[in-house]
Subunit: 338 residues, 2 copies
Amino acid sequence: MTPSSAAQLEPSTQTREPRRRTPRGHVDVADLVDRAQAGDPRAVARLISLVEDASPSLREVAERLSPHTGHAQIVGITGAPGVGKSTSTSGLVTALRTAGKRVGVLAVDPSSPFSGGALLGDRVRMQEHATDKDVYIRSMASRGHLGGLAWSTPQALRVLDAAGCDVVLIETVGVGQSEVEIAGLADTTVVLLAPGMGDGIQAAKAGILEIGDVYVVNKADRDGAHQVVRELRSMLSLGALPGAWRAPIVTTVAQTGEGIDDVVAAIERHRDMLDDTGQLTSRRRSRARDEIEAIALAQLRQRFADLHGHADLDVLAADVVNGSLDSYTAADRLLAAL
Amino acid sequence: MTPSSAAQLEPSTQTREPRRRTPRGHVDVADLVDRAQAGDPRAVARLISLVEDASPSLREVAERLSPHTGHAQIVGITGAPGVGKSTSTSGLVTALRTAGKRVGVLAVDPSSPFSGGALLGDRVRMQEHATDKDVYIRSMASRGHLGGLAWSTPQALRVLDAAGCDVVLIETVGVGQSEVEIAGLADTTVVLLAPGMGDGIQAAKAGILEIGDVYVVNKADRDGAHQVVRELRSMLSLGALPGAWRAPIVTTVAQTGEGIDDVVAAIERHRDMLDDTGQLTSRRRSRARDEIEAIALAQLRQRFADLHGHADLDVLAADVVNGSLDSYTAADRLLAAL
């Protein structure tokens, strides 16, 4: 274990060490998984790269990781740009480490075709954790390949899980849809807000109130923070069901670390609730369903693309455009040719 | 044709006239399509309801509409909440009618499980067109059923197309992903911006710069409008390719109608370019491909949900969660059982 283990979890495009391969040119996945379980950050990095690149070894990676997963609590961190997501994530890492937890951080940039570059800002903030051998930090682009986030991110989370992380924080760079997708990958979703974000809570309303398990109003030392808390409380109370988890609202100043311990406590309470009520398993099963389906559908799309002749998608599409075929009949032909 | 034809294109949940059915309880789709082609707004409304409800007649509707489609230019109107989308849409309807065009308006609310209600604001603004027999206005919820927008909206557009519209404006209520989806349905995408929208152009950057064929800076009489135009111009010039369509930037004050004619002119120039270069056909084929695939995949998901025993998705998901199966092998079993 080198003193700068976390810093070495960099994208495969910048791999410094020669890739370890068996004599036949195959990656020795079993060895990588063993080393990852033993805490070797380079093995962790390599496995994530294999997943991210959808390498031919992907299936073997998935198969060998599978028995070693299920321990880590996956915590999604979402929020609009400017709310202080990466500062908060860094603060959470510090607090979790103080509590003796092994921590993984997966930063996903769905809008970038590149790993690493776009996340430089985050990684700089993460430098303070770079010498901590019990912190794995990894940025990842979703590459736009089939299935996007749904395809590669769950496997990357499993790598960090199998490597013994107690908590994996997953955060997105960017806006929109990805926030909801992150919630679909996490056991616990933390939604960050901050005062002075333009439309603020109004804009955040769309979707975000349904996905939060813990709400954090960051930059609580600024004007308008109380207003955000008040609005949030009233909006959350509208949809509250008796007996259900009531998402707490925590105020923080991530820059100084104020309130971060309260966020960690809220995350732990949520995990306890999930455990006690059996919701952890039901949430994970629901996610696994979605993931299996996404993989199956991506493979079917690949088969569609390989069809020729009568069921060639381009031929069918041309007929739909010229009005000689409707799209449902076209879909029937596609399915019949599978 | 009643004097308030447009106003009658309301959601099926509020249908006032008894549904026309043949003696056997089947909808007479052929008759509806004939009447829609002849300009009967009630037949248009009924056909859109059949599509939106994914009624058993959906396939027959698609089949019978198919030969009568391809004439209308589909124009997507996108932009963040508050930029003046519905006022601009209403202004465009007026300008297009003045130019003698038949116009359809489809307002989609992907976040709402209900048709109509959430769009009341828009519909009030649209009241001035309610007595115009050559304007069809319809709001539509995507209902969250399989495939969402991808499933029902293209068919609704075909209804308006078959009914003889020269231009169909399609607009979404709400934020995020749906904007990009709308672009995927349109021949021409108009992106609206306005000064003073918080993060403004920065927030809009994500995705929106790739989808616009025409950019409109609305509320051009307000402070900061020039700044928005300047930033937009510089950002668009970064990605500009020689010879390709250079998306024009038009300034408007939709409240007063200022600049709306310029938007119409830009939309027409874009249509001419699409025609001249063959891009109209290639764009439409690409959309038809996506649509056929979406329908086929939605049907496959339905089949997945119907599988039992060994390939039951719930059983597979439980095994993935307990670590006895990986998600790729689970997907293989699902596909094998199809």
